[in-house]
């Protein structure tokens, strides 16, 4: 039984310009503790697919199964991290933000605080527990968002280009930190990105999507040993292969 299964998921919507096949018959599964990246150019439906998995959008066909059960709508079995820094609640401190999910679960205050502090320590922000988001840098805010999504212990972590709005140096540091967090928590992760190097650095497996309609083109396993060296020959080979898949023609259009 796989922790997540995406089965023949399609999303079609009508616009004044005609029908748009945002996602067409996407299927893939994730093993426990697997880190899966969905990579594709903008408009390929990768974020839409993530939003379907998160339960924010209802697919027009197909189903999402989590832990073997078909799910509809949102659930605490999934934690979500968005791209926008503004996802944090500005009226809550870093600690208050991380506690939110636990509060919704009805966890008692003392335990809530203990768990939230542990999560903040995991992303190396325990010193900033009592800071408000507007006093934190973009990278720190995204780390709080990751801690917040992990705090209530969801089975799956869904991440929608969480580091895309960061500068290159901060992004590298964030990727290293996320790889560490993942190694420690052993979460199953679905991570959407358009950044090929990021996918090769983080993923066990990469799902490549192509636009119009948004389809899964192929899956590429990344078997490089961790921690990965982005300057190694093997790393660059993987990146080239992925770029070839993204840039080259799909098998279906001859």
């Amino acid at each position: 039984m796989l922790p997540i299964e995406v089965r023949d998921v399609s999303l079609v919507y009508d616009t004044p310009g005609g029908r748009v096949h945002a996602v067409e018959a996407a299927s893939f599964g994730l093993a426990a503790s697997e880190f899966l990246c969905i990579v594709g150019p903008s408009g390929c439906g990768k974020s839409t697919l993530l939003n379907i998995i998160a339960g924010f959008l209802t697919p027009t066909a197909g189903e999402i199964r989590i832990g073997g059960k078909a799910v509809t709508g949102r659930g605490m079995d999934r934690g979500v991290v968005f791209q926008d820094f503004a996802q944090l609640f500005p009226w809550r401190t870093a600690l208050g933000n991380v506690e939110f999910g636990l509060e919704m679960k009805g966890v008692a205050k003392a335990e809530r605080e203990r768990t939230a502090l542990a999560q903040l320590a995991l992303v190396k922000l325990e010193k900033f527990a009592h800071s408000y988001p507007h006093h934190l840098s973009g990278g720190m805010q995204q780390r709080v968002a990751i801690a917040r999504a992990l705090a209530y212990n969801p089975a799956v972590l869904l991440m929608d280009e969480p580091f895309a709005a960061l500068d290159a140096m901060t992004r590298d540091a964030m990727q290293r930190l996320l790889a560490e967090v993942w190694r420690e928590t052993r979460k199953t992760v679905v991570y959407v990105t358009h950044n090929v190097a990021e996918a090769v650095y983080l993923a066990d497996r990469v799902v490549v999507m192509t636009p119009h309609p948004g389809r899964v083109k192929c899956e590429i396993p990344i078997t490089l040993a961790r921690p990965r060296d982005p300057l190694s020959v093997e790393f660059l080979e993987c990146q080239k292969e992925l770029l070839r898949q993204l840039g080259g023609p799909g098998e279906e259009d001859h």
Binding site: A54, F56, M76, V80, F82, Q87, E103
Partner: protein, 263 residues
């Protein structure tokens, strides 16, 4: 340290402006162009004010006015805040309430005084109703806008963490709308404070800052009038700066949802 020097600079600047205006007034008052009864000197006004405060009458007048404002203002908040939220959350409520608000809002609250006097008779009911009318619309419309301006990402994030309607309302929508809710409270209070004085002039009997000014006119007591105006200004200032200013500092400014202007 720098916060403290900033504060002193701000206080100096405010008092500086007031002192210049007071000095100009004093020069004109002492010039002898106008009769002293109409343009009393500031020390004269201060003496009258001191007398009215120490014998307690001014405190009673201010107390009555403040009580009327508070009752009308709180009623307006009690109705305007939930209704504004409801309007922002339900299209049907918005369709019903918005045209009504748009039609009633441009009518000056004081224009209702004669009507209210017919309905309620002279007295506190009229002044409270006028305050309520004046405070209602700023509260309603700011809340309505504030709730609509809540970042959808906060709702989405909260829902992903299992927040249901109740938690969404108290823990996301209310704090998320707080910058405009506070603006609504502020504007509502200022409008109430302006409206109450006018309403008291027309509808109150025996007590109230508006009433005392109108009454003093009969006896050509310009010093009493000016003393009362000073009290009206001072109370309004205290509420605006201390009450609502602190409310803002402890909430939306601290949260970075609105920014303080840099010196």
């Amino acid at each position: 340290m720098s916060e403290r020097t900033d504060r002193w600079r701000r206080i100096r600047r405010t008092t500086g402006t007031l002192l210049v205006v007071a000095a100009l007034y004093e020069i004109v008052a002492r010039s002898g162009y106008f009769p002293a009864v109409l343009l009393p000197t500031l020390p004269g006004v201060a003496r009258t004010l001191f007398g009215l405060v120490t014998d307690g009458t001014m405190l009673w007048h201010a107390g009555y006015t403040l009580a009327r404002v508070m009752i009308g203002f709180l009623l307006a908040v009690a109705l305007g805040l939930p209704l504004g939220i409801w309007m922002a959350r339900s299209r049907a409520v918005e369709n019903f309430a918005l045209p009504l608000a748009s039609a009633l809002m441009p009518i000056p609250s004081l224009a209702w005084v004669p009507v209210f006097i017919l309905w309620f008779g002279l007295g506190d009911a009229v002044t409270v109703a006028i305050v309520f009318y004046a405070a209602m619309f700023p509260m309603l419309l700011n809340t309505w806008t504030g709730v609509r301006a809540v970042n959808p990402l906060w709702l989405r994030a909260a829902q992903a963490m299992g927040a249901k309607e109740r938690a969404l309302f108290w823990k996301v929508i209310i704090p998320g709308a707080s910058p405009l809710i506070i603006t609504g409270l502020r504007q509502a209070f200022v409008r109430s404070w302006i409206a109450v004085v006018g309403a008291e002039m027309l509808a109150a009997s025996d007590w109230g800052l508006g009433w005392i000014i109108f009454d003093a006119k009969e006896f050509l007591n310009a010093d009493v009038m000016l003393a009362s105006l000073a009290v009206i200004g001072a109370i309004g200032y205290v509420f605006e700066r201390l009450v609502f200013g602190s409310l803002e500092r402890f909430t939306v400014l601290r949260w970075g949802m609105v920014r303080a202007v840099k010196a």
